[in-house]
């Protein structure tokens, strides 16, 4: 019985033999990259890139619940992207603008503005 269930999953039209499985599965790489980068200095975080990840993550989280059939894999991976990017954005914003050491904050802020 277990065998035929596994076989059904293996041969599923959106299963592991298809791109419909691997593309959304690999999308977790973006969230994992963000988690790995969470310990990097905030100067190396890109406002533009994290904003793009957050926007895309939020929109696809919503759409994953609206499409037929609901795709919880899609919802969860995009939710993960949105959460990690918001964390990165919060970290960078706090470092650049809300730092208790004002001089350091201003320096960092002008640094990131110059680079953009």
């Amino acid at each position: 019985m277990a065998n035929s269930k596994l076989q059904a999953l293996w041969n599923h039209p959106a299963g592991p033999k298809t791109i419909h499985f691997w593309a959304p599965t690999f999308k977790w790489g973006i969230t994992i990259a963000n988690i790995l980068d969470s310990s990097k200095p905030p100067e190396q975080v890109s406002y533009a890139q994290q904003a793009a990840i957050m926007g895309s993550g939020l929109i696809w989280t919503r759409w994953g619940t609206v499409i037929t059939p609901k795709n919880w894999n899609l919802v969860s991976v995009n939710f993960g992207m949105a959460v990690t990017s918001m964390f990165q954005l919060a970290r960078k914003t706090q470092h650049d603008y809300l730092s208790s050491n004002d001089q350091q904050g201003e320096q960092a802020a002008s640094e990131s503005i110059e680079d953009q």
Partner: protein, 107 residues
């Protein structure tokens, strides 16, 4: 007008989810382009490599999904190009790729 109306009412048009999701993903391309002028030290190797694999997979996904989604395909082709370029900039900055003549001397 007729072609606009056809687009407006298309099964992958602006009244559907098949349209706005891919539109959101153009943000990655825009961000990549905005970051082209940044010094390579600021590029995240992790994230850029992840984006390269991600867009490669989703080019195929956009082609195979029903209905075929050309907007998503175009988005990921563009993103793949931009991210590969950024990855090469990062790799050169890290010393993984041979640099041009005079820069190699300083290494």
């Amino acid at each position: 007008m007729a072609s606009f109306r056809a687009f407006w009412n298309s099964p992958v048009g602006p009244k559907t989810t098949h349209f706005w999701g891919p539109v959101a993903n153009w943000g990655f391309v825009a961000a990549g382009l905005a970051d082209m002028s940044k010094p390579p030290e600021k590029i995240s190797g992790n994230m850029t490599a992840a984006m390269c694999v991600y867009s490669a997979l989703f080019m195929r996904f956009a082609w195979m999904v029903q209905p075929r989604n050309y907007l998503l395909l175009a988005c990921h082709v563009s993103n793949e190009t931009v991210q590969l370029y950024q990855l090469s900039r990062w790799a050169k900055g890290q010393g993984y790729l041979p640099q041009k003549k005079d820069e190699a001397a300083t290494q």
